[in-house]
Amino acid sequence: MTVRERPGGPVNASPRLADRDIDGMLFTAEMYGVQLDLLDAVLGSTVPRARAAATRWRRLGYAEAGRLGPGASWIWLTRAGLAACGLRYAAIPPALSRLAHIRAVTTVRLALAATPAYREAGAFWRSERRLRARGRPGLREHVPDGEVHWPDGAPVPWAGECWAIEAELTRKTLTRTTVIMRELLTRTGDYGSAGGVVPGRAARHARALYVCSPAARPTVLRAREALGPLAARLEVRALPSQAAMAP
């Protein structure tokens, strides 16, 4: 049940947003929405300050908040907030069926972003929402939960690479998992283009990173075994502890 804290619409004619606010709103927009207990990590501040920021966005009419499921409240951007960020996504609250998954992906992104190598390299997270926004309506293709782009010349050995990120909470069938892995690792074209495989191009994803729950891990490992040589480009790790939805 969504509880509107405040009706939409800007109430302040001259909103003043700090850089941190803008970064937080962009993050929130890219991830569909963020739970308030993760927002402090997103903003790099304390929990009270994060709550204050969320309140500020709501007062500006840029965001809405509500208790959508278990755990802390969620915050997501309104049409005005998305427009302020220059994003043309549909202004809808996070789908109830995807709350756990969105939270898991958020924690994965935060875990990567917390590492010095990520910050020093200036890596860029391309979210599933952005990837889907590029796709043509009706185009059926698997989209990863995110892509990490490592700029050329970054001070990491994998500079210039693009990684596919998958957060796995539940156990899919082995066949399905293998097909997705193979698709991720053999894809050469961008999302939203005519086809996943463009002849003559190198693989789009130099690596795929599967971050799994304990339940999904066995299937993912077995699927990786079935990949053959491609398995060398696939890493499996455990979801961060914050990924679980709080009761």
């Binding site: 917390a114 050995p157 990173l209 040589p229 890493e235 790790r237 455990a238």
Partner: protein
Amino acid sequence: MIRAYLAFLLLRGTARVAWRLIKVAALAALIVAVAPVSVVAAGAVLAAWWCGWPPRRLYAAAAWCLPMVAVWLAAAAASGQRPYRAWLETWRLAAGGHAAVAAVTVAPAAIPLGLLAGGLAWAVRIYRMETGAGGLSPSSAISFGRRQWRRQARSARARIAAPGAVPLTSRNGDVVVGGTIRAVRHPARPVMALPYERLRSHQVVIGTTGTGKTTLLLRLWAGFLATALTRQAAGTGRRPLLVILDCKGGADSRRIADRARRVLRDAGARATAIWPDDARLSLWDLPPARLVTTLLDLIEHGHGAAAYYTDVMEAIVALAVQAPPGPPADAAGFLARLDTDWLTAAYAAGDADALAVLRSGARLIPDVALRFRTLWRRLGTGFEPAGGFGDADAWYCILEGTAETAVAEAQARGLVDLLAAYVTGPGHGADVLLAVDEFSAVSRRLPIWALYERARSLGLAVQVSAQSWQGLAAGEDERYRIAATAEGGIWLLRTPHPDPVAGLAGSRRYVDSSRRLTGPAWSEEGTSQVRQMPVVDPDLVRGLGTGQAAYVHQGGVTYVQVKRLTAAPAALAPAGLAPRAPAPRAAVPGPRAAADAQAGLGTFLDEAFGHPGD
């Protein structure tokens, strides 16, 4: 008279029944009198029966209770109480309704005694079933054996499934293979550990496809590397070198190679080279004299009249390799020298003997050049510069023995020659394990016994694996020679023909009892005699499940459930596996080797998500 005899029979029968009743009553009284011990013993027997434990395990449990007994006795002595009073106190407390307190009071004495009694009772039960003296029906012993095997296998699987229960190596450096299912003439330990020295001896592994042979081999290889690297770090051992010759080839071999690379890296291997896909082993670094021999080994020669041609070829190759400008640097250089004009110019300075040989063999030089050119085209770049066995801790060499037998045979000759040169060369100081899988596929020109003997002379340990007894070698004599000299033991996985190995394992004596049936029940009459039975039960080996193996060594056998090793992807090295040895020259270039160079990636991901094993 008849009446008196009938009365005697009646009296005798009554006396027997009465005696039996007295015995049963006495036993029941004893059980009740020592009820706490009886309860523990019954529980111990039940647990051993359900889990398929050997009696030794109950004895060991009883022994582990001794410190508790010592403390209890000391406490009793300190308080001035006599220990036997605990028994009386127990009954008094139980009668007063304090069952829990009563149990605690008597536990220090009852538990070890109960375990001991349970172990003895369980040993008697096993002995009676094995010798045919127990059971309700003649087939009871067979059913008992099958049930116990199932329970032992189940317990072994459960034991290795527990996280951390089966590390790769034990604290004393033994290689842990898996959970012990059953041991015959071997110590029955819950977890089977193989001393490192066994892996430094020759071993044989036989198992058909899908039985877990690769899983076993990977574990042995990883254990060898992990132990050797630990010993090297401690200054008590030399650098390890694992060389695997996979003589089947194809996609399956490459899949296994990839898995091996990941497993070995988790075991501590700094680099695992996959030849010829990712890495090279330069033939041209060999000393000139040995290079001549190796080059000739690569070419198939004829016999009889063709021996003349062989001699001429040897002379020409020697001229090309040992020419004044020095040995050739690569195949292209060597092929360029197989030319009359080049050789004439090289030896024009005044080597009269060489020029004489050249004049005699000039007619055949184009033929020799053609043969080597053809061979090198088929061999590819695997033997090209630069690369050597010192570049990696482990080499997985894929020989296309199924698709390109002739090429694979040449590759096998070349690789063995290179390894021999490496281990006899200057500066060599490595513990080498040479593992050959399905070598019979490429052994037409290099008999496996020759490889075996050569390896023994060089101080290498050889591990021969095959899908069947027949796959070990071409002839029966060779097979027996290989199996009989496997000092490190023979591993049998499920195979339809284990009888030769079972025969080599020998037999053991056992007591075979036969009893007389009187109607549906046993009578008390029977005979026993000592017989011989094989140590390895061939039928048991034929029925082994996936991941189960029989390890035959020194006249005993241990059946083991092998613990599968899982590993992280090859391109991502986990943190904490820093090279334990000084890095040698740069690894051989190749796409996978380049990926290996990005070891920092594992550290990065560990930092973000923790280590996969955590």
